[in-house]
């Protein structure tokens, strides 16, 4: 699918990855800066928009694909990882990003999250976690605090908070990091690393919902760089994540498991050869 080298190779910039379609997000939404970080990372990697696909499900942050100039796939709620898996296996030449939120990824899409981690297809999963369903106007998600009051769950859900990094590590993700939307350059750097890292990379980005969780504006005062270096040892990563309060930023784990990439496009037979198996 590669095209002939171009005569004048212009260096791509972050702006080349930004479409002219205006986001529907609320003013102050963390997702704006995540969009910037994504475009910066793609430019830093000197990728061409046409060779990048951004895949998503449903939710505020799942609107991301159309805001880029890459090929986009805005599918059904919770199934972005499955669609991206099919795309990457069918088209290993593409750089595949998956974007979405905590409801899309951890609730309705939870099963695919687990299996995408263990399948380890070479793609990058970016979750903009704001601990709330924003598009449906403020219901608790799996990462919402148990006592957070809402119309749908008055008095709070009372449920234990889902810990995506723990699940990702246990299920076998090959690269696990946490970033903060308020730090666009740091986020861009982590994203570039994640995209470069072979296998399934999971980047959880704390991205405040200023509309339904205005108290998340305080996150900028709470987040901090993780006090330890990234590790390739799952045991060390596990020890570290068990004491994590959800606000340590940086790379938690970098594994070296070979990506799942079944060969495609290398026929050894003509289709007609297979009918020999039926012939009497």
């Amino acid at each position: 699918m590669s095209s002939p080298p171009e005569t004048v190779m212009q260096r791509v910039t972050a702006a080349d990855f930004k479409s002219d379609y205006k986001p529907i997000w609320c003013p102050g939404c963390g997702d704006f800066t995540v969009l910037s970080s994504i475009t910066k990372a793609l430019a830093a990697l000197e990728l061409e928009p046409r060779n990048v696909a951004v895949v998503s499900g449903i939710g505020c942050s799942s609107r991301m694909p159309a805001y880029t100039t890459a090929f986009g796939f805005h599918g059904v709620h919770g199934r972005a990882l499955a669609a991206a898996t099919g795309l990457k296996i069918a088209r290993p030449d593409l750089t595949v990003l998956v974007t979405g939120g905590d409801g899309d990824g951890y609730s309705i899409g939870g099963n695919h999250f687990m299996h995408a981690c263990r399948r380890n297809v070479d793609m990058t999963y970016i979750v903009m976690d704001n601990h709330v369903y924003g598009m449906t106007k403020g219901q608790p998600s799996p990462t919402t605090e148990p006592d957070w009051d809402s119309k749908l769950s008055p008095g709070g859900t009372g449920l234990k908070v889902f810990h995506p990094l723990v699940v990702a590590l246990a299920a076998g993700a090959n690269y696990i990091a946490r970033a903060f939307s308020g730090d666009p350059n740091g986020t861009a750097e982590i994203l570039a690393q994640a995209i470069r890292h072979p296998g399934f990379s999971f980047v959880e980005i704390l991205s405040p919902c200023v509309t339904f969780r205005p108290e998340q504006r305080e996150w900028r005062n709470i987040v901090r760089p993780a006090p330890v270096e990234p590790t390739d040892d799952p045991v060390a990563a596990t020890r570290r994540i068990l004491t994590d309060d959800g606000f340590n930023l940086g790379v938690l784990y970098r594994g070296d498991r070979a990506p799942y990439a079944p060969p495609i496009g290398h026929p050894t037979h003509a289709v007609a050869d297979l009918e020999k198996g039926f012939a009497l």
Binding site: M1, S2, S3, Y21, P49, R50, N51, A53, V55, P65, A66, T69, A70, F71, G72, F73, H74, G75, V76, G78, R79, A82, A83, A84, T85, G86, L87, K88, I89, A90, R91, D93, L94, N111, H112, M114, H115, P262, P263, I264, G265, H266, P267, T268, H269, A270, V271, D273, L274, E275, F278, A279, L280
Partner: protein, 578 residues
């Protein structure tokens, strides 16, 4: 009047069931018998039926042989060969016997079940167990193979070659052949059927199941990505494709569930690789949301639904045509989609290939309604003709000026950009969108895109393949899928009685095309709609979309019992003479 249509012995074919407990190897014996008969020039088929147990339990291979191709089971069985009697009475409905039938069973295993005696079947004893025991390392099912092969008049060397080719453990060959010989010898004591006419099938014939045929059709259609989640009775289709796909440069991925498998297929197809998944009713139910995405985002995809008894878990290993309603109307919103129904085992190949072609050409989802009968039945068929289908996916050229993915073209089909192509990036979207693909909730955009998606299906050229139209008469039998075989046989029997009826076996179920359908039913005064489900789903679909002429009657019953030719024959003759 009833007399003319009652069950009667079909002199052109022989029907035979081999039954026993799960470990008795009756499926192995049946498969070998079918292959030996095929090599001896006969046509035939083997339907599998079994109890609900994973392993063990009761099982039966239902076979029918003829010098001519056979498409369905007969009304009755000439022989029931019972290697043992375990729970055999559970098959009494599926293995109808009469006074002309012979039950060959092992007297040391007990008496013939009452249900078969009541049918008037005669009993012929054969010591399967003791015979096998007398030959060290042999099994009763090989005795049954020798016996049945002899009853069919299959030469000894043909059977031996099949046994040799089938056995995995080569040291089992000598005792197996000895058991086959003992079975042949025992057949001398049993009444033989009238010999079948000289076998007519030569070289070039195939032996395959509908699931294998559908898999091969997918490859011929160009499918190179398959996402799979196991489900009875579609699993074998996926298992056939798993090693076949890499050979032709494709890939099969096992998904975590059916939600994933359909979405993986959509992702691959979005990437430009023709994609398919196969499932049964429960899986199709889970896939409906994503099939709607394929409609709206205009992503080609094929879903082969190997129908089984429903709803819910239903009767997983037995056939029923009861997913017609969900396939034709099971999506939310106004969602035009293609629904196709192969009408023979061989046609599973052509119709799946056609489904891929249509999905690709029209950038729409296509559901192929196969069923357990087709999927798991192995049959001898004439090698199907190669199908050449010009067309395929219309893709956008690089740097197309002012590219609009969902352009409102005259045909409704708009060029689809494939990722990697320069200057035509877009976002495939399940949100309603404008021509550029930008989400839009405006009435004009919604109306325009709904019109476009409907128009491309309704105005496409489908040619003569949409249905099999046969015969003349004012009584028209409209049917689909695996009901076609017994209907065709019933119409032939009626013709022999001097009653003429027309067959309309519909292959392209959706989109409905009233002009074409009306023309096929022109002159009809009576319309009989035959289908294997409880709620007359096909008739309801036809009534919703067509003005059926004259008097209309439904002939439907649920699975797992197949539609039998005699029932349809009786209905046709009685109604014609009423």
């Amino acid at each position: 009047m009833m007399q003319a249509a009652e069950r009667r012995r079909d002199p052109t074919s022989l029907s035979l069931a081999i039954a026993g407990s799960g470990g008795a190897g009756v499926m192995t014996a049946g498969t070998m018998l079918l292959e030996a008969a095929a090599r001896a020039g006969l046509y035939g088929m083997m339907v599998r039926t079994s109890g609900p147990q994973i392993r063990g339990g009761e099982a039966a291979a239902l076979l029918r042989f003829s010098p001519h191709p056979v498409a369905n089971l007969d009304d009755r069985f000439d022989y029931l060969v019972a290697v043992d009697w375990l729970n055999l009475q559970r098959f009494a409905d599926e293995i109808p016997l009469d006074a002309g039938s012979i039950v060959i069973g092992d007297p040391s295993e007990g008496a013939m079940p009452e249900a078969f005696a009541q049918a008037g079947a005669r009993f012929a004893p054969l010591e399967f167990k003791a015979t096998a025991k007398s030959i060290k390392g042999s099994w009763p099912n090989m005795v049954a193979l020798g016996l049945t092969a002899r009853l069919l008049g299959i030469p000894e060397d043909v059977v031996a070659a099949v046994v040799e080719g089938s056995l995995k453990k080569k040291d089992a060959l000598v005792p197996s052949l000895a058991a086959v010989a003992a079975g042949r010898a025992a057949a001398d004591a049993i009444e033989h059927p009238p010999a079948l006419a000289r076998a007519q099938g030569g070289a070039g014939r195939w032996l395959l199941t509908g699931n294998e045929a559908a898999g091969f059709g997918a490859l011929r259609g160009g499918v190179r990505f398959v996402a799979a989640y196991p489900i009875t009775p579609a699993t074998e289709l996926l298992e056939w494709l798993a090693p076949a796909l890499p050979k032709v440069g494709g890939v099969l991925v096992q998904a975590e569930d059916e939600l994933a498998s359909i979405n993986m297929a959509l992702g691959a197809s979005f990437g430009g690789v023709p994609a398919l998944t196969a499932t049964a009713g429960p899986g199709l139910s889970l896939m409906t949301e994503a099939i709607g995405l394929a409609v709206t985002a205009e992503i080609p995809v094929v879903v082969v639904d190997v129908m089984r008894g429903g709803p819910s878990t239903g009767i997983p290993a037995k056939s029923e045509q009861s997913d017609i309603a969900i396939a034709t109307s099971g999506l939310h919103g106004d969602a035009p989609r293609l629904v196709l129904a192969p009408n023979s085992i061989a046609d599973c190949l052509a119709t799946t290939q056609w489904a891929v072609h249509l999905a690709e050409t029209l950038q729409a989802p296509a559901i192929v309604l196969s069923d357990q009968f087709f999927g798991q039945t192995r049959a001898v068929v004439d090698r199907p003709d190669e199908l050449v289908l010009p067309g395929g996916r219309l893709v956008a050229a690089a740097d197309t000026e002012g590219y609009r993915r969902y352009a409102d073209t005259a045909s409704g089909v708009s060029p689809m950009a494939i990722p990697g192509t320069r200057g035509v990036a877009y976002t495939a979207d399940g949100l309603e969108h404008n021509e550029r693909g930008i989400p839009s909730s405006q009435a004009t955009d919604h109306r325009r895109q709904l019109d476009k998606r409907l128009r491309k299906l309704e105005t496409a050229e489908y040619g003569a393949r949409w249905a099999d139209l046969e015969g003349e008469g004012e009584l028209v039998v409209v049917t689909l899928g695996s009901a076609t075989g017994p209907v065709r046989e019933a119409i032939a029997r009626a013709a022999a009685d001097g009653v003429h009826a027309r067959l309309v076996s519909v292959r392209l179920i959706a989109p409905a095309r009233p002009a074409v359908f009306d023309a096929a039913l022109a002159g009809a005064r009576r319309v009989l709609v035959v289908e294997q489900n409880h709620g007359a789903q096909f008739l309801r679909f036809l009534r919703a979309h067509y003005d059926l002429p004259g008097e209309v009657r439904s002939f439907c019953h649920p699975g797992p019992l197949p539609i039998r030719p005699a029932e349809v024959h009786r209905t046709i003759v009685d109604w014609s003479r009423a």
